[in-house]
């Protein structure tokens, strides 16, 4: 084991891992974090804590992560390179680790244009690949990015994101390979709605043997309605929602659409469980965290393995 991360132990044991996410609140109410996290408590192995998602200011991911840790759960610290330079990121990584956070996800982050501080200067001292490299070097070499020794290096289990659907498609496997080369231990993918295309991507991943080098968690998002599916297809950058998904949701009454959306999510997990190279699922139920337990249960991923038994 490289770290004490629960997610690493579950993945290493050969079990399919389940993660979900929790967006911190837009204010200083710790109970908001607890309410959201409590919905996920027994059904996931670790919870991603987003970092100023969609470029809107929220409670810091490490602070919300500590609140989640205090509940006996395992946070995955998301960190975007948009808001902080290498000094600030390293100090936050050390700080988070010293408070018990041992798993993180390295991202570049949404452009400030999409948020409520559009006049901000984005930092991008590093990109997500360079962030992965820095965290791995802190762990394995005990060195800061600048080269000096760290007194008690943070041992983070390092994650990265992969979007199999963004163009150019033929670059996507190379990009994943690059993140693995930089030091990614696990990868969480963008929401998968186009399963055929994802399976094609995974074939290419396995052809290169990348499935042996990284744990890949497939991204699953339940659709609340046909409207949401259309919005994601047309408005969210890098999202691939096939027309069949929209038609299937439109084929039932509005009241039944949430249930149909959950069915689609569960069926997707069941199909993707069989795909070589898929090591687990990352369930992103956007402002719909209360549905995660039933998705996990219906997909046959419950109960979650107890780490002490691994």
């Amino acid at each position: 084991m490289k770290t004490e991360s629960k997610l690493e132990r579950i993945l290493a044991s050969g079990n399919l891992a389940v993660t979900s996410e929790c967006g911190p609140p837009r204010g200083a109410r710790p109970e908001k974090v607890r309410e959201k996290a409590a919905l996920l408590k027994d059904h996931v192995d670790a919870v991603n804590v987003t970092d100023n998602q969609t470029a809107m200011v929220r409670m810091s991911s490490w602070a919300a992560g500590v609140i989640i840790k205090q509940m006996g759960m395992d946070p995955i610290l998301q960190m975007v390179t948009r808001d902080r330079n290498r000094l600030a990121m390293q100090s936050d990584i050390i700080g988070a680790y010293s408070l018990g956070i041992n798993t993180m996800l390295c991202l570049s982050g949404d452009h400030p244009k999409f948020g409520d501080h559009a006049t901000a200067k984005s930092v991008y001292d590093l990109d997500s690949v360079q962030l992965v490299r820095m965290v791995q070097k802190m762990r394995d070499e005990g060195k800061f990015q600048g080269g000096a020794d760290i007194d008690c290096p943070p041992k983070m289990f390092v994650g990265a994101a992969s979007n199999p659907f963004a163009e150019p498609f033929d670059l996507r496997v190379s990009r994943l390979a690059k993140k693995i080369k930089a030091g990614a231990d696990f990868v969480q993918t963008q929401c998968i709605f186009n399963l055929d295309k994802f399976e094609k991507f995974m074939e290419m991943v396995c052809d290169r043997g990348l499935n042996e080098k990284v744990y890949l968690l497939a991204g699953i998002t339940p659709m609340k309605s046909a409207g949401m599916a259309k919005y994601m297809k047309n408005k969210v950058p890098g999202m691939d929602v096939p027309d069949e998904v929209i038609k299937r949701l439109e084929g039932v009454s509005k009241a039944e659409q949430p249930e149909e959306g959950i069915k689609i999510a569960v069926e997707s997990i069941q199909r993707l469980k069989e795909v070589k190279g898929v090591h687990g699922f990352h369930i992103m139920a956007i402002e719909w965290e209360e549905k995660v337990p039933q998705i996990v249960e219906k997909a046959g991923l419950f109960p979650r393995p107890a780490v002490e038994n691994l």
Partner: protein, 222 residues
């Protein structure tokens, strides 16, 4: 070249409002090419300012001068003989020109009439686009001649983010994804393997992170 755009007329008028005599100084270099502050624009702005002062019932004396190169002390010296005959100088050069004037004529109020924008190239008639950030450590040799620092909205060094859509950047369908361009070009050159070489964290010192930059060419210094 350095590109610029004229400031809003109201802002320019507010700068020169207290003064009766103005030198309006253009530049014959970059700002002429991008039609922001050359001889022609000096003439147009002078007319607009005269018209405005007439409407206000005031008389303003504007002398139009376009220097060969406003960022060069040699040409800026040409104003020396007449500088006492004005109350303020309005510069239509880039920020380099404005500061060269301000450095030479210390007692004289100097105001910018343009906003300096970026180092760019002409895409077609009337369209200029950013191409260089002057980062001091040119990567174009390994990125297929397309700069990710200047042309990727996030200045990413190791490939496109997840927001690319049909070759366009997530910020706007008008903006090309620099990394899609780089990838296509590397493929066309048979160099796509190069993409997987990690680009390490950038040393930003030559880019300005080490403080204001200066070139000293000992072989040229007098």
């Amino acid at each position: 070249m350095i590109t610029a755009e004229q400031k809003p007329l109201e802002e320019i008028i507010a700068y020169i409002e207290p003064y009766d005599r103005i030198f309006l100084v253009g530049c014959n270099e970059c700002v002429t090419v991008c039609a922001a502050g050359g001889r022609k624009e000096v003439g147009l702005l002078a007319s607009a300012l005269r018209l405005n002062s007439m409407k206000q019932g005031k008389t303003i004396e504007i002398k139009e001068i376009t220097l060969e190169r406003q960022c060069d002390p040699e040409y800026v010296e040409e104003l020396a003989s007449d500088i006492n005959r004005t109350d303020a100088v309005l510069s239509m050069a880039c920020g380099c020109g404005v500061q060269t004037l301000a450095g030479r004529y210390k007692e004289m109020p100097i105001f910018p009439a343009v906003n300096t924008l970026f180092m760019g190239a002409s895409e077609s008639q009337g369209i200029w686009a950013e191409r260089c950030r002057g980062c001091g450590d040119c990567l174009l040799g390994i990125t297929g001649g397309i700069c990710p620092v200047a042309r990727c909205s996030k200045s990413l060094f190791n490939g496109p983010c997840g927001g690319t859509c049909s070759g366009k950047c997530e910020i706007s369908p008008e903006v090309d994804c620099a990394w899609c361009l780089i990838w296509e070009r590397l493929k066309a050159l048979g160099m796509e393997k190069r993409y997987e070489e990690l680009m390490e964290a950038k040393d930003w010192r030559p880019s300005g992170g080490g403080g204001p930059r200066k070139i000293v060419r000992k072989d040229l210094v007098l």
